[in-house]
């Protein structure tokens, strides 16, 4: 049995006071505890990975296996981990700059392949660690340090993109709703396939969105949304287009069961346990 104490490292937490990341950290630790207790997943089977940015520090704070990767590359990193050993439970943490800017190609392909990992985006809609530039989900006109006159781009909607790319589990959480976020993470890990959670994570310092979310966020579950309905999922996703107005739905937008990438690619094989093949016959055929 794991306790919260075992799950913490000695690393000093350097997020700003009030940062939304604390909510994700707490929800993650609670999820790991529960998954250990309820599903019997041994501590050593958890592997976290992260990109670079404020969000990414999370792996330093949690005392389980981790790969602190590079900016934008969470998806291939966790894909490699999962494919080498499909028995591991792999959770990726990425920023919005990380996942939607630098790394969007990989994210789309992870979804397309339906690889059985969980991908959590800490979407503060700003580059935090590099001190406040606009990202793909910042609202048009966002005045960041690279766009002091306001961003000249409309945000895209990551939920729509991920749904189009073929993701089989698409959800949105909010850091201030810790319990619900924990439930989402657990559902994502339990989902057999690629699970995507976009977490609304206010950046206290560069883009304080608490007030807006506190007023506008509601839960799809309360609305009786059917996550098996792709059309409804798309409609709900499109309800809010990442501006600074309108209602913002959270919860599981879409969930469907499909064969996973590792099943299709590996079948029964587990690469870390494979023995070298035998050359004799192959070489013979070359004479």
């Amino acid at each position: 049995m794991m306790g919260k104490k075992d799950l913490k490292t000695y690393a000093e937490n350097t997020w700003c006071p009030g940062c939304g990341n604390f909510g994700i950290l707490n929800a993650l630790m609670a999820s790991i505890e529960d998954l250990n207790e309820e599903d019997g997943i041994e501590p050593e089977r958890f592997v976290l990975a992260s990109g670079i940015g404020c969000h990414a520090k999370i792996v330093d704070y949690v005392n389980v296996n981790s790969f602190y990767s590079i900016h934008g590359r969470v998806a291939p990193t966790i894909s490699g981990i999962k494919l080498a050993n499909p028995e591991l439970v792999v959770i990726g943490h990425a920023g919005d700059g990380d996942a939607y800017g630098e790394g969007i190609a990989h994210l789309i392909f992870a979804a397309k392949r339906n690889i059985n990992v969980t991908f959590i985006v800490h979407d503060n809609r700003v580059y935090g660690l590099t001190t406040g530039q606009f990202t793909p989900t910042s609202p048009t006109g966002f005045k960041g340090r690279s766009t002091p006159k306001g961003s000249p781009e409309e945000p895209f909607n990551p939920l729509e993109l991920l749904l189009s790319a073929g993701a089989t589990f698409v959800a949105r959480g909010y850091t201030a709703h810790m319990k619900r976020l924990t439930a989402l993470i657990k559902a994502a890990v339990r989902h057999h396939g690629f699970s995507f959670i976009e977490v609304l994570q206010p950046c206290f310092t560069f883009f304080n969105t608490y007030k807006f979310y506190n007023e506008q966020v509601y839960d799809l579950f309360d609305k009786g949304h059917d996550p098996k309905d792709l059309g409804a999922a798309l409609e709900m996703a499109r309800e809010w287009s990442y501006g600074m107005d309108g209602r913002v739905a959270t919860g599981i937008f879409y969930q469907v069961q499909k064969p996973t990438y590792e099943e299709r690619l590996l079948g029964e094989r587990i690469p870390v346990g494979m023995n070298p093949g035998r050359l004799e016959a192959v070489l013979k055929a070359h004479t």
Partner: protein, 549 residues
């Protein structure tokens, strides 16, 4: 030396490479050693392809400009290559397509007779060739059965008709006596070398001339127990590979210069996080897209210095199929033992030319890395005397395995403290000592030709092939470093002893090996460089050397 060279030419789509392969196999079965060069432009149909199969009764690693026989599938082949024909040589051709002197056969009619597909014209050519050389039909039939996958019987009939309709030249080719050995391309040798050293996964995005490693391993996944993956791009390749290696899988990736450029960020990550990974870089003519199906040795400096910051690496440059096999296996074992990135630098000429493979795979196996013994608290970056921290992988009980791209402490937690930074950088670089002593047990610099000659050619990679034969003829020494980083200084000094004139021979425009040698205080007196996308042939090198000797 008894030898024979045969050129096959035609359009892309005529199956010229496949025909060359069959001819090479024929001569292999007759006990000859083979070198087989394939020249093709970057297109799928049309254009002009040609192959030169050279066979001899001793090991060879290069081809010559002149040939004994030409198999011409089209007029272009005769136009371009007739000059190559030696006195007494012959052109065997499709008389329906080609007008020339020599042995013409109506391929189209032969195909029609047996209801063969157009691609089977080259089966007819091979039959004619075998008839001309007086090769026993049994050998021909066996090779056709072994090499042609589809419509074996039709092919056999076509070959037989052509065989019988070709007058035996009387210059019957003798059996050379040696047993047949596997014919491998450099890329195939790289692939099986890695497999022998325990490769679990090969991950790559297609790029000429590296793609055939992917194709080969993908088509042998089950025989060779390897998982192959073709991801979205080269960045994905490298990061997937690092994720998998962290998890305990032995992984290799392969690409050419432009794709490798996209992996350089990951190279640096491998250095910082101490994750073992083998990168195969098959060079082609650059810069940029360049001349993608032609050869060059111009990425040495780039790969040698790839990745920002400073970290240990191993870089090896095989020059023939045996070296491709052994060095790739060594690279994988060293990468794992020292937890570092290792590089195999090949080029189109090595990767896609085919040679007789005389290595002994039984010698090679996977060497286990230094592993955590399970006692005490696991620290991924434990400070040890030799700088190597014992490995454990996710899934190991009681081990929390944390790797990171940041500078870090022994547990793998980020640090920004000056002393810790110095200590950790020191730890990583310290591994060099042990690496050097480990490498000391290998042959790192080869010497060919006259080992006491005062005039020496120095070369790397596939260029050795032409150098060796020229040196034998001109009584020169040949020096070939197999390892380029860490540089094998002692072995090089030994190899250079007594040399008065050192001539650098490279397939590039600036002489990158000579720049590397200069950093070690070794000065090449002259450079012989070729950079038109073509490898040195024995003749072209001899010719170029005339000017500097």
């Amino acid at each position: 030396m008894k030898e024979l060279s045969i050129l096959m030419g035609g359009q892309a789509g005529d199956g010229i490479r496949q025909a060359g392969n069959t001819v090479a196999r024929l001569l292999n079965r007759l006990g000859y050693r083979i070198f087989f060069y394939d020249d093709y432009p970057s297109l799928i149909r049309g254009g002009h392809n040609f192959s030169i199969v050279r066979a001899a009764d001793k090991k060879i690693r290069a081809h010559k400009e002149n040939v004994d026989l030409i198999l011409a599938m089209n007029q272009e082949t005769v136009k371009r290559h007739r000059w190559r024909l030696k006195a007494g040589g012959e052109v065997i051709f499709d008389s329906g397509k080609v007008e020339t002197q020599g042995i013409g056969l109506p391929f189209k009619e032969i195909l029609r007779e047996h209801q063969g597909a157009p691609i089977m014209r080259n089966t007819a050519a091979i039959g004619a060739l075998a008839g001309h050389l007086g090769i026993d039909w049994e050998v021909v039939a066996e090779v056709i059965r072994d090499t042609i996958a589809r419509s074996k019987e039709t092919n056999l009939k076509i070959a037989r008709t052509a065989f019988e309709n070709t007058v035996d030249s009387g210059q019957k080719i003798d059996r050379a006596g040696a047993p047949a050995v596997p014919l491998l391309t450099g890329n195939e040798a790289i692939a099986i070398g890695a497999v022998k050293a325990g490769l679990n996964m090969y991950i790559a995005y297609p790029m000429t001339p590296a793609s055939s490693i992917l194709h080969y391993l993908a088509s042998h996944e089950d025989d060779l127990n390897v998982v192959t993956i073709h991801p979205e791009n080269e960045i994905g390749v490298a990061l997937m590979a690092l994720g998998a290696a962290y998890t305990g899988a032995r992984v290799m990736v392969g690409t050419s210069g432009g794709g490798f450029a996209l992996m350089t960020e990951a190279v640096s990550l491998a250095g910082q996080a101490e994750i073992p990974l083998v990168f195969v870089e098959c060079q082609r003519a650059g810069p940029s897209t360049g001349v993608p199906t032609y050869t060059m040795q111009a990425d040495l400096s780039f790969v040698l210095h790839s990745g920002h910051g400073e970290f240990l690496r191993v870089l090896m440059a095989p020059g023939d199929v045996e070296e491709a096999f052994y060095l790739t296996a060594l690279a994988l074992n060293l990468a794992w033992k020292f937890q570092i990135p290792a590089f195999i630098l090949s080029d189109k000429h090595l990767s896609e030319s085919t040679s007789s493979f005389e290595g002994d795979p039984a010698e090679i196996g996977p060497q286990p890395p230094i592993s955590w013994d399970g006692s005490g608290e696991y620290k991924r970056y434990r400070q040890t005397e030799d700088g190597i921290s014992p490995l454990a992988f996710p899934g190991t009980r009681d081990a929390v395995v944390k790797v990171t791209s940041y500078e870090h402490d022994e547990h793998g937690i980020t640090t920004e403290e000056p002393d810790e930074i110095t200590r950790m950088q020191g730890k990583r670089l310290k591994k060099l000592e042990k690496l050097k002593s480990e490498l000391g047990r290998q042959e790192l610099v080869k010497v060919y030709g006259n080992p006491r000659a005062e005039r020496a050619l120095i070369c790397w990679g596939s260029t050795k092939g032409a150098c060796i034969e020229v040196a034998e003829e001109l009584d020169l020494r040949v020096i070939q470093p197999l390892l380029l980083e860490p540089f094998p200084m002692n072995e090089m000094v030994k190899a250079l002893s007594g040399v008065k004139t050192l001539i650098d021979v490279e397939v590039n425009a600036t002489g990158q090996l000579s720049s590397l040698l200069a950093t070690k205080g070794i000065k090449a007196d002259r450079k012989v460089l070729r950079y038109d996308g073509r490898p040195f042939t024995i003749d072209s090198l001899k010719n170029d050397l005339k000017e500097v000797l």
